[in-house]
Subunit: 188 residues, 2 copies
């Protein structure tokens, strides 16, 4: 029997990604976002939704670039911290013990210590309500060599990204392999 | 040392959600989508990006409604199947052994057997490229009572949603609890 929970942002799983930007003065900033996802294959794009009140919002509007950085489960404490303080009054890279790297492709910094980073150029902004959805065209993906599988793809178990549960507001690890896509459903 | 992987939709984790719609003749259809996420808190919204070639694309444009259904890891075979065949020539509910339920709130069906369902009304469409991003306002979330925690929130371990790894094209379970958000980062 299904129970109605009302009109809430309760859907699983959602990601825990760290958005990198430069502010007006050129200072690197990072914030945590979970209202985000891949949104187009050609051109390859990701979307990230942010409140206007965030420091990152103004940085993206001004610089038209951002990075999406994927922390591993071992870095979940840092990811949580980056969602609790503002770059307006804090050097969050220093606070989290992380290192900004200047992108050669976009006007935004990425995080050296995180296993995967995606460099994005802003191509659309959509005002929805409390959040504005930013669509970034993926200019490059960079990953630590240790997290790549035999085919050169990022391996989910080695990247070990963080999964967020809205409502309960908890972080989880990714667990066991179920199987290959476009394959396990062929029996049906 | 980071390796450049090029401009590809490689970012982790992304969800495996099943999109429910009615076609012109009123037949219920479901398809698998992974280019999706939460995109606004007020009003609560989810986004789903689809190729124009999909049967679901035309259904959403015509009916202006859809549902987002969250399969559990035990239902991953069905989820995979729903991404491999088209509703144009197949009754996918019957093929997957699933039951359509008519929503009382939106003009779209939801899946009885999946632990969580989200009923959405289309409020924005954004043409990006190969994919069009649809923003649905969440009208209600419904979940099986067995998957709710003591506070009435969907429990990630009980819902047991599927996580997708682009590139490697593999499905994973959600694993162990890391800890509470807005809390574990306070040490830093």
């Amino acid at each position: 029997m299904k129970k109605s929970l009302g009109a809430q942002t309760l859907v699983q799983p959602v990601p825990v990604w760290i958005i990198g930007t430069y502010d007006e003065a050129g200072r690197p900033n990072i914030m945590t976002a979970a209202w985000a996802g891949i949104c187009c294959s050609q051109p390859p794009c990701v979307s990230v939704s942010l409140r206007k009140a965030t420091y990152t919002y103004g940085n993206i509007v001004a610089r038209k670039c951002f990075t999406v950085n994927v922390p591993s489960a071992e870095q979940a404490k840092a990811a949580d911290y980056l969602g609790m303080v503002s770059g307006r009054d804090t050097d969050k890279f220093a606070g989290a013990g992380l290192t900004p790297v200047k992108s050669e492709l976009v006007d935004a910094p990425w995080v050296r210590e995180f296993p995967m980073v995606i460099e994005c150029s802003l191509i659309h902004s959509l005002e929805i309500g409390l959040h504005t959805l930013f669509v970034g065209r993926i200019m490059d993906v960079k990953a630590d060599e240790e997290v790549l599988d035999g085919q050169g793809h990022p391996d989910m178990e080695r990247v070990s990204p963080v999964v967020y549960s809205p409502g309960a507001r908890t972080y989880y690890r990714v667990g066991q392999l179920i199987g290959p896509a476009f394959s396990i459903g062929k029996d049906l």
